[in-house]
Every structure is written in structure tokens, then in C-alpha cells.
């Protein structure tokens, strides 16, 4: 997903970013280089050097900052982005458990009823085309109980 449009909204104190078919808000309060009443945002543009994955902005003082779309998606709790983050974290945990287990990789592959290639794809943290379900099955084979914890998010 690339940024299609970015708009400055000084009244709402936020950027309006269009990516995919959605409009995301990103508040100035989350910026590293923050504007102030006497140093407002004068321009925002899609950063072509970053492949359209980020936008940059300029303040009246001349200071500049850049925000990556991932940061915007994370702030807005985009479901697809959050799923990828969950997959990534689960994969790192699986890697740690596989390294620690006494079971051989051949045995893990056999119990998972899969091929070696598929098994190694499961262990690849850069692969997001796998399901959470497959990782949960592997964790179960690694003698792990996975509990689902739902909690209120801190403000």
C-alpha cells in the first residue's frame, strides 16, 4: 500500500493521509518534529525518495520531518497492519522455541504434516503469507499453550 494523498489540517492539528481506499488521521502530537502555534506546518508531500511509503512535511521555521506509512497504520490500528505485526511477533517466538526444543526439525515437520519448504516458510519472519493458525499449531507441537488475552488499551 502506498500513500495516494497527504493533506495538512492545521485546524484539526493532524495530517490526513489517503492510502489504499482509506483515509487516516495522524495527529501532530505524534510527530518527532512538532509544530507549534508560532511554527505551523506549511507543506506536506509524498516522499518519492521513500517510494511513496512516507510523507515529509515542513514547518514555518524550515524544520522538516518525515512519517512512514507504517507509523500511520499502527497509530490507526489498521487491521491488516496489526495482523502482520502479530504474525511477526508470533514468528519470532516460534523461532525462539524451535531453537530451544529437544525435538528435531524432522520430527516437527512430521507432526505438522507439512513439507520442509513450508516449515521453513513458517519460520521466516519476513513471510507474511502464512496464517496465524499454522503458527499456533506449531506452538502447540512445541508444547506451548497459547492463551488469548483481551485487555483494555492504555490511553
Amino acid at each position: 500500500m502506498k500513500i495516494a494523498r497527504v493533506k495538512v489540517n492545521n485546524r484539526r492539528k493532524a495530517f490526513e493521509i489517503t492510502a489504499g481506499r482509506r483515509l487516516y488521521l495522524f495527529p501532530y502530537a505524534k510527530l518527532e518534529v512538532r509544530p507549534a502555534a508560532a511554527d505551523r506546518v506549511t507543506a506536506a508531500y509524498i516522499d518519492k525518495e521513500l517510494g511513496g511509503d512516507a510523507f515529509s512535511y515542513r514547518l514555518e521555521s524550515g524544520a522538516e520531518g518525515t512519517v512512514h506509512l507504517d507509523h500511520v497504520l499502527e497509530y490507526n490500528q489498521d487491521p491488516a497492519h496489526m495482523r502482520d505485526l502479530l504474525l511477526y511477533k508470533l514468528t519470532l517466538e516460534v523461532q525462539r522455541r524451535v531453537a530451544r526444543t529437544a525435538l528435531s526439525r524432522r520430527e516437527l515437520i512430521r507432526r505438522l504434516h507439512t513439507s520442509p519448504a513450508q516449515f521453513y516458510r513458517l519460520l521466516d519472519q519476513t513471510n507474511y503469507r502464512k496464517s496465524v493458525d499454522q503458527l499456533l499449531r506449531l506452538l502447540r507441537i512445541l508444547d506451548c499453550d497459547v492463551d488469548l488475552v483481551i485487555r483494555e488499551r492504555a490511553a
Binding site: 525518495e49 521513500l50 518525515t66 512519517v67 512512514h68 507504517d70 519472519q125
Partner: protein, 56 residues
């Protein structure tokens, strides 16, 4: 003539490295692994150097 331009952007313990407007790697500074892409040895050495200098 060949010219290339690289840039990196860091936020929340993750660094995105681009070359010629293409993502080279999305790197997790805490876990020290790639989240996306395959970094070259040169990129890894640069990340390591920047981390040691406290710039990441």
C-alpha cells in the same frame, strides 16, 4: 552513468532503508532481524555502525 540515493527513516525501534526509492529492508532494531526484505552485508554493517554511534 549510474547514480543511486539511499535514505533511512527510523521510528519506534524500526528502521526502513531505501535505495533509489525501493525498500531495501525494514529492520527491527530490538530483535536485530529483518521484518521485510533481505539486507546486504553492506547495509547490515552500516546499521551496526549507526547503532554503535547511537544514531539509531
Amino acid at each position: 552513468m549510474c547514480s543511486s540515493r539511499g535514505r533511512a527513516i527510523t521510528a519506534r525501534g524500526i528502521v526502513h532503508v531505501y535505495k533509489d526509492a525501493e525498500l531495501v529492508v525494514k529492520w527491527d532494531l530490538e530483535a536485530n532481524v529483518a521484518m521485510k526484505g533481505r539486507p546486504t552485508a553492506r547495509v547490515l554493517a552500516l546499521l551496526d555502525e549507526l547503532k554503535k554511534e547511537g544514531l539509531l
